[in-house]
Symmetry: C2
Subunit: 156 residues, 2 copies
Amino acid sequence: MMQRENPVEEAFHIRKLEISDKEKGFIELLRQLTVCDSVSDEKFNERFEEIGKYGDDHRICVIEDVRSGKIVATGSVFIEKKFVRNCGKAGHIEDVVVDSSARGLQLGKRIVEYLADHAHSMGCYKVILDCTEENRPFYEKCGFKKKEIQMVKYFV
Amino acid sequence: MMQRENPVEEAFHIRKLEISDKEKGFIELLRQLTVCDSVSDEKFNERFEEIGKYGDDHRICVIEDVRSGKIVATGSVFIEKKFVRNCGKAGHIEDVVVDSSARGLQLGKRIVEYLADHAHSMGCYKVILDCTEENRPFYEKCGFKKKEIQMVKYFV
């Protein structure tokens, strides 16, 4: 029998979001991040299709706990096409969350590295994200550096 | 003869980026913001078309000095489709710059308000941007508040 090189990687499978992930706790996971009421299947499918139209320019990844069949981590990145930087591209990472029951397994790091690698492979000259000061050490471990400040205007 | 209500608004016309704006100093203006070498007409047109495919989901606006025919201010906003916030949308403002010769005319404020209004009209629950601490007072005047910190990872 083959020796298991990395049991965590085998037990937690990282991949693109699939339309069936709504049944695997994807929305409940997002609720650990911010406001996210119940979403109807119709609304979920519609948004899934809308994002799908962007192809590789908007990638949502998830980690599935193979044993339980639950989604335990997710994050997204979209590719912004610019004129600056000689018509460069920038990746924007958003909505990274790891299930509270699956902390300490480096799943967040795997998500961020997956998303940063995707941005890199799409030809981005940088990838950016906004986070709390509290989460700064985590992103520094992922190879990020603090740069500017985030400003927000809410409409609701 | 009609009285001119607002001579600055008449002299500086705000509108969507047009493909002919490359000839009106659009790239030179971006160079005041960050690295932006000369861009060939072919490359410019290709990027213009790519961004155009996103329709109202990626809006670049410019202000033209009607007298000189030059582009003196610009900014962009793109609409990110999310699952959080009940399948909400967030606007991301990027690459705001005002020509050094046209400062003090509130053109930056007009750009940011145009972009924020666009995000609002597209159904966004918020609009966000990253800026230096130095530019914070300007964005506060535009109705923004500081929230988080920006982290970046460069690939080049």
